[in-house]
Symmetry: C2
Subunit: 605 residues, 2 copies
C-alpha cells in the first residue's frame, strides 16, 4: 500500500539525518530512549492513525456534529479513535514517566501526532485542545487544581478547551467582556459568552475543562486586566467524583466550510448566575499565561496545515502516476497510448511545488519542535534561553507559512485531479476546505505579521534575529563546500542580505514612532521572512542530500536512496530558484515604504 | 440597501466611460437601442437576480440535487428563477428581433448575465449551458434541426448541455470512445458514457438537448475524427410534439465541493442500443465546431469567476466597514472604542487587492464581450477579422486569469471576515468553493497556457499579438499625457518590452521543434501575459479616471464621483506597482529556459 499520511522515508530523513534526533538520547531526560523506542512510537502512531482516524475522515465531514437537547452529538467513530490514542499514551507523549507519560522529546511527540493530523485533522483536534489546556494547568495551576482537573485530563477522563473569543472580541482580546466575580468560597462566578470554542461540547469524555479568559471586577482596562479561569462542564467534588452540572450552556454550533468534525461552539457562561470558575495563577495574568502557551498551540496549527498539505500531495502524486491523459507536446500520434499525467511538465510543476511547500514546512515544523526540546533540556540556562529566543522568533512563521503555502499545495492537489479533485468522491477537496481555517485561528495571518515585525524581531535586543542570521550564514558556508549547491545558496544569501537591511530600516521606523508606516506592509514582510526561513531549511536539506549522495558514490550509503536525495535536491532547487528570488519585488516595496495600502481611503472603495 | 451583486457605478463606468457602449448604437444592428434601453435591460436583470436568484443561492448549496428514480430532483426555487429569466428575454438577449431576441450587443447581454452569475452561479448555469448548445445548432445545424430543437430552446421549452468529457478523456478529447453508427433513417445510434455533464438532467424543461461528441465508424484517429451530434432526452416528432424517451440514462450525480446547485451528471448513451442522435454539420468536424463556440463558453466561465469574486469583494467590504475590532498601531488606549476593521492597513490591502483583481478582470471580460460585437458588426470584413484575431488571443486570459485571481479574491474575502468567514452562516465561503471549479472546467489552467503559447500567439502570423502590443503601446502613449500616471505606465512598458522579447524567444523554440523546452514553463508565461493584459486594462481605467477628475476640476463633471475615480486610481496603482513588477522573476525563469520542472523525474518524488 502506498503511503497516504506522510512519507516514512522523509520522516526518517528529517529525524535522523537533518535534525539528529538520536543526539537527544544523550540528554538525561531522554536517556531511556533510543532510535528503536522512537520508531516504535512512530509505528504505533501510524497504525492507529491509519486504522482508526483516517477511515472516518470523510464521514465526519459529511456528518458534522449535531445539536440535540443542549449537547453536541458526534458520529460514533470518533470516540474509539481518541480512546485508542489515549490508551497508546499519545495524550501524554512528552510528559515525564512519573507523571504517567512517555517522556518523549517534543520532536518525536510532534512527529507522532503528525500522523493523526494527516489522517483526520478534526478528530485529532480533541486531544490537541486537551493537551493545550492541561499544559496550562500544569504550568500555572495550584496543587488542588492539578489534582482535581489535570490528573483526570492526563488519565484521559476529562478533555479541555481554550475559551478566548467573544462575539465582539476575536483578534482583540483586550476587549473581552466575560466577568468573574469572587464568591465567598474562594471560587468565582463567571458570566459571559464565548464563540468559536472548538471542542466546547462533545460526548468523548466524562467532563470538559474550559480554560476561560475573563475580567475581575477591579481589572485594569485592556490586555493587562485579563485573568484565566478553570470552568468545568461538571463540578468536581473533593474526592474527584463528578458533582452537579455547572452553569455552562451550549448555545449553539457553528457550521464551518471544513474541519467539520470538530465541534465549534457558542458557550454561555452563567446565564443563571451560577457558573463556578477557579482562578489560575495570579489575577490579571491570563493573557501572559496564554501567550506563554501560544508557541505550543501555534506550532500545532502549523503542523496541522503541513499535514493537510502533505496528505494532499501524496494523494495527487499517486493519482498523477496512475492517471493516463493526453500525450507529450512532441509526441502527438493519436494512436499512441496516453501517458500518465506525471509525464506532463506542468503536472510535475504542481507536484514539485507541493513537495517544496510541504516538505520545506515539515522540516521547519519539526525543527521548531526540536527547539522546544532545547528550551527544556539543553545543559545551561544560557543555551536554553537562546533556544527560547529563536523559537519565539520563528513561531509566527511556523504558524503562518504553512497556513498559506500548504493551503496553496492543496489547491494544486485539486488541480492535478481535475474534475475528480473537485468532487467529494476524492479526498483532496476536503483537505483544501479543512486547511482554509489555519490562516484564521490561533492568530490570523495579519496578527502573525504584526507579532513578527512589531514584537518578536526586537525582543531581547534582537537576540533571536541575530541567532537566526548566524544560523543561515553558517548553512551557506557549509553549502559552499558543495559546488553543486552554488546556484541554490546564492539566492538565499542575496535575499538574506537585503532582508537584513530592510529589517533594520523598519525597526528604525518603529523606534522613531513611525508605527503606522513601519507596520503598513507587515504582510509583505511576513512573506519574505518566511521564504527566507524556508529557503534556509531547504538549503539544510540539500546539504544532507549531497552528503547522502556522496556516501552512496563512495559505496557506503544505501544506493536505493539515490532517487530520494535527487528529489530533495530538485525540490530545494525549485524553492531556492523559483520561490526565493520572487521576494525581491516585495523587498522593493518594503524598502520604499510603499504607501498604496496605507493611503487608501474608506470612501474610495 | 448596499449593492451585493456588482457596483452599478462601476458598471456604468465600464459601459459608458471605458468601453463606450453607446457608440454601438450607431451600428445598424443596434440602431434600435440607446443608453435607455441598455439601462432598462440591466435594471430588469438586476431585479430578477436579486429577487429570484440570490435568495436561494445558499439553499441550493445546502440541498444539492438528488438522484431519484433515474432523475435529478432540484429545490423548487430554481424553476421560477429560470422561468423569469427566460420570460424577461435574457435567454435570447443577443438574438435578433426576428428570431425572438432583444438584439442587444454582446457587451450588454454579458453585463446583464453578470448579475445572475453574481447572484447564483449554479442556477445561472442552466440557461448558460442552453445558450451554448443552442448557439451550436444555430451556427452549424440544418433547417430541420433548427425547427425541431433550436426553436424550442429559444422558446425556453428545451434546455441544452455540452457532452464532451468521458471517464478516460477529459483534457484529451482526442481519446473519446463514444461511437455513432449510421441508421437506415439517416439518424445515428449513439453508444458511450459521458461524465461531468452539467445540467445533464433536471426538471426545468420539457426536454434536454445534449450536444454530444462521438466518433463515426470510419473516423480517423485523434481530434480529426470527432463528430457532433444532437441527442435529445426525448425524441421530437415531425410536428414538434415530444416522442418517446430516448435511450439516455442518468447513471448518477457527482457531488462537488461547490457549485452544488448545478447537476453534474454521468450519462449513459445507448445502454439498450437505441439511443438516437443526429449529426450536426459535416462528419469529423465536431471538435472544430466546439472550438468555434469555445470563445463564448470561456468568456462565460471567466465572467462567472469574476462575478463570484465581485460578490465576495462587496460582501467583505461592507463587513469591514461595519465590524469593529482592535485599534490602530499608534492608538493603543484600551479604553478607546474599537475601530472598524477597514481602518487597519492590512485589511485595506486585502480589500484593495480584491478590488484590483475583480474590477480589472471585469473590465477585461466586458472588453472581450465588446470584441464579440466587433467580430459581428464592424463595417468591413478586415475589421471583423482583426477583432476575431484579438479575441482569439485574449480568450485564454479571459478564462484563466479570473479563475486564478478572483478565486484568490474570494480567499481574501474569507480572511477579512475571519472566523465568521469560515462558517456557512456567511456567504463568502460558498463563493470560494464555487469559484474553485473555474480553473478546471472548460479547459484547465494548464490547457489554457498551452493554448496561448502553443497555438494562439502564432496564429495568423501573430496578427493578434501585434494588435495587442499596439493597443498597449497606444494606451501608454495616452497615459503619458497625465504626469500622475507616470508611475503606473512605466512598469507596464517595462513588462511589455521584456514579455515581447521572451515571446519571440519561445516561439523560436517552438518553430525550431524544441516544443518540450518551449512549452515547459507555459504556466509562468500565462501568468505574465495575463498580468500584462490586466495591467493594460487598469491603465485604461486610470486614464478614464484622470479624465473624469479633470472634468470635475473644471466644474463639468459630477463632484460626487471624485472618490470613485480616486479609488480607481489607487487600485490601478496597486495593480501596476504591486502586481505587474512581480512578473520580472517569472520572465527571468522563462528567459533562462529554466528546466527545474522539465528535468524532474517521476522516481525522484
Amino acid at each position: 500500500m502506498s503511503e497516504t499520511l506522510l512519507s516514512s522515508r522523509n520522516l526518517a530523513f528529517e529525524l535522523y539525518e537533518v535534525l539528529d534526533a538520536e543526539a537527544l538520547t544523550q540528554r538525561p531526560r531522554f536517556a531511556e530512549h533510543s532510535r528503536e523506542t522512537f520508531d516504535a512510537a512512530l509505528g504505533t502512531a501510524r497504525s492507529i492513525a491509519e486504522e482508526l482516524f483516517a477511515p472516518h475522515n470523510r464521514k465526519s465531514d459529511e456528518h458534522e456534529p449535531q445539536y440535540a437537547d443542549g449537547s453536541a452529538v458526534l458520529i460514533p467513530e470518533v470516540k474509539p479513535a481518541v480512546d485508542a490514542f489515549i490508551e497508546a499514551g499519545f495524550q501524554n507523549a512528552s510528559r515525564s514517566f512519573e507523571a504517567g507519560g512517555m517522556q518523549l522529546p517534543s520532536l518525536l511527540s510532534r512527529a507522532c501526532f503528525a500522523h493523526f493530523q494527516a489522517a483526520n485533522i478534526a478528530t485529532s483536534s480533541y486531544p490537541m485542545l486537551t493537551m493545550g489546556a492541561s499544559h496550562l494547568i500544569e504550568t500555572f495551576g495550584d496543587d488542588e487544581q492539578k489534582r482535581r482537573f489535570l490528573q483526570p485530563m492526563i488519565d484521559g477522563r476529562f478533555f479541555g478547551t481554550m475559551a478566548l473569543t467573544e462575539p465582539h472580541a476575536g483578534s482583540s482580546l483586550a476587549d473581552i467582556r466575560t466577568r468573574a466575580e469572587p464568591a465567598a468560597d474562594g471560587s468565582y462566578r463567571i458570566k459571559g459568552n464565548k464563540i468559536f470554542i472548538s471542542g466546547g461540547d462533545h460526548p468523548l469524555s466524562e467532563n470538559i475543562v474550559h480554560m476561560v479568559l475573563a475580567k475581575l471586577p477591579d481589572a485594569p482596562a485592556g490586555v493587562k486586566g485579563i485573568s484565566l479561569f478553570i470552568v468545568p462542564k461538571f463540578l468536581v467534588n473533593a474526592d474527584g467524583s463528578l458533582g452537579k452540572r455547572n452553569d455552562v450552556l451550549l448555545a449553539g454550533l457553528f457550521h464551518k466550510m471544513g474541519w467539520r468534525g470538530t465541534t465549534s461552539t457558542a458557550l454561555n457562561f452563567g446565564d443563571n448566575g451560577e457558573c463556578v470558575g477557579y482562578l489560575v495563577g495570579k489575577p490579571h495574568q491570563g493573557l501572559a499565561y496564554m501567550f506563554q502557551m501560544m508557541n505550543e498551540a501555534r506550532i500545532g496549527v502549523g503542523m496541522g496545515a503541513i499535514m493537510l498539505g502533505y496528505a494532499g500531495y501524496l494523494y495527487s502524486l499517486e493519482y498523477a502516476r496512475q492517471r493516463p491523459q493526453g500525450r507529450l507536446p512532441d509526441g502527438k500520434d493519436p494512436t499512441a497510448a496516453q501517458v500518465a499525467i506525471i509525464q506532463h511538465t506542468d503536472v510535475r510543476r504542481m507536484l514539485l511545488t507541493q513537495k517544496a511547500y510541504v516538505e520545506g514546512a515539515f522540516d521547519l515544523g519539526l525543527y521548531a519542535a526540536r527547539l522546544v526540546d532545547d528550551c527544556e533540556t539543553l545543559a545551561t540556562e544560557d543555551e536554553r534561553q537562546q533556544a527560547h529566543e529563536l523559537l519565539d522568533l520563528l513561531t509566527p512563521i511556523v504558524k503562518s507559512w504553512p497556513s498559506e503555502f500548504c493551503l496553496k499545495a492543496n489547491e494544486l492537489a485539486i488541480q492535478i485531479l481535475g474534475g475528480h479533485g473537485y468532487t467529494r468522491e476524492y479526498p483532496v477537496e476536503q483537505y483544501y476546505r479543512d486547511n482554509r481555517l489555519n490562516p484564521i485561528h490561533e492568530g490570523t495571518h495579519g496578527i502573525q505579521s504584526l507579532d513578527l515585525l512589531g514584537r518578536k524581531l526586537a525582543q531581547n535586543g534582537g537576540a533571536g534575529l541575530k541567532q537566526l542570521t548566524r544560523l543561515i550564514h553558517t548553512a551557506c558556508q557549509r553549502a559552499a563546500g558543495f559546488p553543486a549547491l552554488d546556484a541554490l545558496r546564492q539566492p538565499l544569501e542575496q535575499l538574506l542580505a537585503r532582508l537584513s537591511a530592510v529589517t533594520l530600516a523598519l525597526l528604525g521606523d518603529l523606534m522613531a514612532g513611525q508605527v503606522n508606516q513601519g507596520l503598513a506592509n507587515s504582510a509583505l514582510y511576513l512573506k519574505v521572512f518566511g521564504h527566507t526561513v524556508i529557503g534556509w531549511r531547504w538549503l539544510e536539506q540539500a546539504i544532507r542530500a549531497e552528503q547522502g549522495l556522496a556516501l552512496i558514490n563512495k559505496g557506503e550509503g544505501n544506493a536505493a536512496d539515490a532517487d530520494f536525495y535527487r528529489g530533495k535536491l530538485q525540490a530545494a532547487r525549485y524553492f531556492l530558484t523559483w520561490e526565493v528570488p520572487s521576494c525581491h519585488h516585495e523587498l522593493s516595496l518594503l524598502e520604499a515604504r510603499d504607501d498604496t495600502c496605507l493611503g487608501m481611503r474608506d470612501a474610495w472603495f
